[in-house]
Subunit: 228 residues, 2 copies
Amino acid sequence: MSKFVVIGLGVFGRQVALSLAQEGAEVIAVDSDMERVEEIHDYIAYAVRLDSTDPSALRSLGLQDMEAGIVAIGEDFEANLLTAAYLKQLGVKKVITRASNPIHRRILEQIGADEIISPEDEVGRKTAHRLLRPNLVDYIDVAEDYKLIRVETPQDLVGKSLGEIDFRRNYQLNIISINKKQIPEGEDTTEEVTHEAVPTSQTILEPDTILVIVGKEKDINKFTGKYS
Amino acid sequence: MSKFVVIGLGVFGRQVALSLAQEGAEVIAVDSDMERVEEIHDYIAYAVRLDSTDPSALRSLGLQDMEAGIVAIGEDFEANLLTAAYLKQLGVKKVITRASNPIHRRILEQIGADEIISPEDEVGRKTAHRLLRPNLVDYIDVAEDYKLIRVETPQDLVGKSLGEIDFRRNYQLNIISINKKQIPEGEDTTEEVTHEAVPTSQTILEPDTILVIVGKEKDINKFTGKYS
Ligand SMILES: Nc1ncnc2c1ncn2[C@@H]1O[C@H](COP(=O)(O)OP(=O)(O)OP(=O)(O)O)[C@@H](O)[C@H]1O
Ligand SMILES: Nc1ncnc2c1ncn2[C@@H]1O[C@H](COP(=O)(O)OP(=O)(O)OP(=O)(O)O)[C@@H](O)[C@H]1O
């Protein structure tokens, strides 16, 4: 059972917590503001009012086996920083936090944050690009029921050509790119693209590569279910 | 020359303004806070300190021929609402604004906002989905230099089959979906998928459809440049 702790229940944090819980994950939702804790308590069983800059309060939550901790505190940088640092100290394996400028981002990286998100920056950039291309109906987002994922090339398929595997006919999936493997750590990761051109039926799958796949969610789940 | 007015220079608004300006658009950047106006003035020539809830101040900007107005005020709902309403009254053809809850969203729709964005909600949802699939290296985001776009099927290509056009060989592009045309108005738009299966070489392009394309940015630009 995937366990997460989300600290800070502003718009971003609340959405992370609710979306995780909706998908069946176990979530601890934390905020220093009682109203926000009470509001989310209708949806999330384990909702706690505490000040996350208090290390003993954090320790009392019992954060071993957390898959990740999400620090969603926006305004108060010091609270964000301290909380992220304490989560790392308490052994939370993956700490995701938030920063709205490069200085803060750098400091958070230095204290060990595994991933740093700026929702407003990300969407600001995407909004601008969408506005500049009126003939582009959408930029980056796929049609409602189509998903785009990246997944490690399954061992069983290594050595076969795309033509041989015939993803379109056999899996209803479309392979749009094949990359060298590299685990992402936030927005600055680039993956090396193994093949310069769009993959063709002659392309042979190599070990330690990543397939960029588009298809309907149910077909993707079938494929990842079969090979993971 | 594309003209935009961006009101509210918090993290989101500032990023919208800077990204637009970087791509060569003409931007008017507005905020009631002098510091924010001065900070952005290094990058954007036309930066103005004013209170956007003052209709005569807004009118003095001369907002005819704006391609769009972006109201990026986050906290103050009333200021956001008034500003959006005035922009519509002043004839700005497309008004994009921001809302962090469904009630606010509904009210903004009623006064005529053309598009309503919640950066924190959008990224909160995406973050949760990414956390729940550790074998998925990435979800929805494409490799660094690959882009996914949706573009109206060019008239010249209508009636031809994908095999005939051969997007992969001739354009280095990958068509991953073909949808019925419908102009999006914010996050709640769904497009009807014209073809149930992933498109094949037999698929004939029809009029009033939208191609969902993946490819490298330079190849996409070549294609959209040729046909727009
Ligand atoms: N030390 C702390 N311990 C626990 N919760 C905290 C602490 N500091 C701030 N928070 C909570 O974090 C939440 C989000 O923080 P904040 O209000 O700074 O961000 P925001 O920018 O409004 O969030 P969003 O942009 O996601 O709406 C708030 O509900 C706040 O009560
Ligand atoms: N009436 C107004 N006229 C002009 N600017 C305004 C007005 N009200 C607010 N602003 C400006 O809008 C900007 C963003 O607003 P606000 O601080 O509410 O959002 P925020 O949630 O901090 O933004 P972000 O999440 O994008 O960082 C601020 O710089 C603020 O000065």
